[in-house]
Structure formats: C-alpha cells, structure tokens
C-alpha cells in the first residue's frame, strides 16, 4: 500500500494531494499538464520537500512532517525514470546501469544485471554512449538503471513524452512486462488516457494540485470528473474480461465480461488472457427493440440505470449489462425519440471493430 497525504505551497501553485493505492501494481497519476503530477512524484521521491503531510510505503514512513521524519532521497530506495531520461553522458550504457547497482549492495536484491538486460532488450546497447541512443532506447536504459538500484517503488514521469508516437512501442511492451513479471510497485505519470488504460491498475486523477478522484481503472472510467479532463470523445466504460474464443482469420475474439460475452476486434492474444478494453460511449448504440439486419456484432440485453446531461449538450446513459456498467452517449433528440427512463430495458449495440486500439492484454495468459 502506498499512502500519500501531502501539502506543498509555492507562489502560483499549491499541491494538496491525498491518495492510497494497493501495491504492487501501476498507480497512474493522470491529469492535464500543470495539474501537479510531477510535483507530486517529486515529493514522493523526496527531491521536493513536503510542507506538511506524510508518505508511507507498505507501512514504512518515508516522510512525516509532524514527527520530523524525512528520509533522504539517496536512502529512500525509490527509483525515478525522468521524462528526459537523464543518463550520465560520461558513462556508457553499462556504466549507467551499474551506477545504481553498485550503490545498492546493502539492499535486498530484487533483480540482477543479466535479468534487466534481457527484460529490457539492452544487450546490443551496452557499449554505447547515451548520445548514440534513440529516445526509446534511452528510456529503456533509464528504466534499467532505476531497476538495478533495487527500488521498492519506481516513479515514472511521462517516460514516453519525449518519444515520437510511432516509436512508443519501443518502450510500452517493456513497461507491461515489468508490471506483469516484477513485484515492484510503480507510480506512472501521464496525460495520455491510452497509456493509463493500457498500464494502470489504479488511477489518481489530479487537477490544479488536488485529487479529483481515485480508484481502479474501471471504476474511474465512469466518473464524471474524468470526462472534464479527457473530453467527451474519450469517455467510455472500461471493462475487463477473459478471452474465451479466438478467430485469427477475422481478427476477432470472444470476451467473457460479467455474465455475458462480447465480440471484439483483437489479435495475438491467447485464449485465457485477461483483457481490458474501453467501450467509447460515443460508439455505443441503444435500441428499444431487438434489431435485425445490422452489421453490429454485439446486441446485449441491458437496463438503463441513470441519465445525465454531459457538458457538451449530449446525454450520457448509464447501463447495466449483465452486472457490468456501460456508458452510452446519445443526443438529446435521440433521448426524446426513445423516451428513455431509468429502469427501461434496452439493447446495447457495440460494433466489434470499435474496440480496435482500445483493448489491451493485462497479464500473460496461461
């Protein structure tokens, strides 16, 4: 468990944030630029000082201003992967990797040099200088360097921000591997919801230095506070399910979600894998009668549980689909035409292809 409750006030910005999240796992600090995400992880790392508050990791106190406790940064054993990597230019990749390793001999060994090199695909880079590396390679080395310091917590400050969108795949799969194979808890700062969807186990939503909401990704996806940050087009319920059938020819898969089955567009994920996907509310169609002759692959019996106006003139319909909650975004006109009320039975229609790019494998399958 990572428990943080801190206050830091500086002219022009004040951070007043509290959250508690389970460990291990990836805790995403999500919010717009300037919302205080980096300040918050700097306070957790100890690089920035908290004016008041306390920070506990698995019961151990790292900061407690009332008791006058502030463990120095160099003795916190908290790894930090900076946005700009910050590799040491006078050392080659091996030198960078060994830097933290040499200084962590007294700490319990979590991971060894060879394992890090294999896990992050660094074997070809060991003799290179930082300036000879691509952005993605740099971040992988920074990740390896932080891991070899045997951290009990790893902080990642938008590690993909300085990398071209097309080259982020040089890093993302490695982050997933870390999450699934190591027991090191991570705090991941991001302003890209897709990264959160793909990596996080717990989300802390920050806005103007304050925590707006926090919780598991699927719960948080239903919160109106998220909508104000990501905008109406990215709103949508996050569901988790297990792959029960795979059709490699059509690139589709059946997913057991709640008590029902969802046909989604998904490749290269073995049967039995856990998958997380987001059903974008704008892609979900509602029908008051069974439909025929439509290309839609999923027609799910469901119940309207709540209606709310969103901030953009449309209506957000909350639905119960086999025990899971799904959001649909429809116009005021559609709402009037269908005359929807809470408690009404409707058919929720989801195109399988609309999940493409919004579905991610969680942990390795069997």
């Amino acid at each position: 468990m990572l428990q943080v409750s801190v206050l830091r006030t500086r002219p022009g910005f004040s951070l007043e944030a509290s959250f508690a999240a389970p460990t291990p796992g990836i805790i995403a600090l999500f919010g717009r630029s300037g919302s205080g995400k980096t300040t918050l992880i700097n306070v957790i790392s100890g690089l920035s000082v908290a004016d008041a508050g306390d920070i506990r990791l698995d019961g151990e106190v790292l900061t407690d201003t009332r008791a006058g406790v502030a463990v120095p940064v160099e003795r916190r054993r908290i790894g930090y992967v900076f946005q700009d990597a910050r590799l040491f230019p006078h050392l080659n990749v091996t030198g960078n990797l060994r830097y933290g390793e040499k200084r962590s001999r007294a700490a319990p060994q979590i991971i060894g040099f060879e394992e890090v090199v294999a896990l992050l695909g660094l074997a070809q880079l060991l003799q290179r200088r930082p300036r000879e590396l691509s952005g993605g390679e740099r971040q992988r080395v920074a990740l390896g360097r932080a891991l070899l310091a045997q951290p009990r917590l790893l902080l990642l400050d938008e590690p993909l921000a300085s990398i071209d969108v097309a080259r982020r795949e040089e890093v993302l799969p490695y982050l997933e591997a870390l999450r699934d194979q190591l027991a090191i808890p991570m705090v991941y700062v991001s302003h890209q919801f897709e990264e959160v969807l793909r990596l996080a186990t717990h989300v802390v939503l920050l806005e103007a230095g304050k925590v707006l909401a926090q919780g598991p990704v699927n719960e948080l996806s239903l919160r109106p506070e998220l909508q104000s940050i990501i905008g109406p087009d990215l709103v949508g319920a996050v569901l988790e399910g297990v792959v029960t059938r795979l059709d490699p020819d059509s690139g589709s898969a059946d997913l057991a979600v709640g008590t029902g089955t969802l046909q989604v567009s998904l490749r290269d994920v073995p049967v039995g894998s856990r998958v997380r996907l987001q059903l974008l509310a704008r892609d979900v169609i509602l029908a008051t009668q069974p439909v025929q002759g439509l290309s839609v692959r999923n027609a799910l019996a469901s119940t309207v549980t709540a209606l709310s106006n969103d901030d953009y003139g449309a209506v957000l319909v909350r639905l119960d689909v086999g025990g899971e909650t799904v959001l649909a975004r429809i116009t005021q006109n559609a709402l009037r035409a269908l005359n929807l009320r809470p408690g009404d039975a409707v058919w929720t229609l989801v195109k399988a292809v609309s999940t493409r790019g919004h579905a991610f494998r969680l942990a390795s399958g069997p």
């Binding site: 940064v73 160099e74 054993r77 930090y80 910050r86 040491f88 006078h90 200084r103 300036r131 932080a146």
Partner: protein, 231 residues
C-alpha cells in the same frame, strides 16, 4: 659567440616551468572549491567574496606582490608563523614565486572552472541521488567528471599565464638568478643590460612560443575530453 641557449636561459625556462607547475598544483583544488562555493553556495557576503577572488585581475601586480610581502614576508603574520612551525620560507624563494604566480592566476582558473560547473545539469545530480549516491559520492562520480573540461582549460590557461607572471613575482620573490629569475624576469634583466639585445629577443620569442603552445594545448585537451565525456 656565446652558447645558444646559454645556461642562464635554460635556467630561466626551467624556473618558469617549475614555478608555473607548482602554482597550478597548489591552487587547482582550491580553485575547484572556490568555484563550487561561488556557484552553489548561498551566503551573505557572497558578492564580496566573488569580488575578492577576482581582485588580482584588476589590481596592479606590484600591489599584490607587496601585500604578499607584508603577509608572508619573514616578519609578516603568516610568514613568521610558517617559518617557526614548518620552517617554510616564501619571500625571495622559488616557492614564493610560485605563491605569487598562484595568486595572480587564481581568478583565471576559478572563472573557467565556474563556467563548466554552471553548465553541469543539476538534473543529473538529482538522478544520481535517486540511485543512492550521497553528496560527496555525487560530486566525485558525476559533477567532477562533467566539469573536467573546465578544470583542464583553467589549469592549462593558468599554467600558460603563470609562465609569464612578472610584477607580483619580482616584488615578492625578487629577481634571484637560479631561484626566482623566471623567463619574464630574465627578459627584463637582459633589457637592462647594454649587450643584452639578442638575449632579450630570444627570450621574448620563447615566451611567445610557450604562450601560444599553452593556449593551443588547452583547446585541444578540452576538445578531446569533451568527446570522451560524450558531448
């Protein structure tokens, strides 16, 4: 025809080199410390300290030599103490010439080192910190290697300048052949003698060559180290 170069010339060259090397060796660690204080430390009177360090750049060298004589002379407060406790004599000795040279070239060295320290990315030190490096460890493993180009540039520039220090040396250490008569002092002496024109010219050309060599060496060294440091 006299021997060229004459033993006196060789003596002057050897002495100049010795004085310059000793002065750099003595003042380099101190210059790193002072550069660090001026760049990183915040304390009242920092500006005054800064000005004080740079004073030899603007003072007449004779004035610096005189102050050294007052402080480090045989009857001066520091000179008398050094003599009675360690048996060290500075006034009118080679060591004294090195001290005078060190004081005069100190600001040059501090400026070069300070510039390189200001260019060291504090973010790298923070990164080292998160990797478990304590303050002194960080300085030795990160800060010092990254400021190495500046340290070398400062040292070589000070060395080249130290070969030619005149005013402070002649005031504090006098013009003693074989002990404190360095190149510029030998040149000055030759100019005073009616038959010294040829010698003076040779010594002037030698000084010129040494200075040029020093500056070129400094530039090459800095480039080389920069490349080694990966920049």
């Amino acid at each position: 025809m006299n021997d060229v170069p004459s033993p006196a010339e060789l003596d002057a060259l050897r002495l100049s080199l010795e004085v310059a090397v000793r002065s750099v060796g003595f003042s380099l660690p101190l210059a790193v410390l002072v550069a660090w204080i001026l760049t990183r430390a915040r304390f009242p009177g920092r500006m005054l300290f800064d000005a004080f360090v740079h004073l030899p750049l603007v003072l007449p060298p004779v004035a610096v030599g005189y102050v050294l004589l007052v402080l480090f002379g045989a009857r001066g407060p520091i000179g008398a103490w050094l003599r009675s406790h360690f048996g060290i004599e500075l006034a009118f000795t080679t060591a004294g010439a090195a001290l005078a040279t060190a004081v005069m070239t100190f600001p040059l060295m501090v400026r070069a080192i300070r510039l390189s320290l200001e260019n060291v990315d504090r973010g790298l030190e923070e990164a080292a910190r998160t990797l478990g490096a304590a303050p002194l460890d960080r300085f030795v493993s990160i800060t010092l290697p990254l400021m190495l180009p500046g340290i070398l540039a400062g040292a070589v520039t000070a060395l080249a300048a130290g070969l030619g220090e005149f005013g402070a040396v002649i005031t504090f250490a006098s013009n003693i052949p074989g002990a404190t008569r360095t190149l510029p002092l030998a040149l000055y002496t030759a100019m005073q003698s009616p038959s010294g024109d040829a010698l003076a010219l040779r010594l002037a050309l030698l000084s010129f060559a040494l200075g040029l060599l020093g500056l070129l060496a400094s530039e090459l060294l800095v480039r080389r180290v920069r490349r080694l440091l990966g920049r």
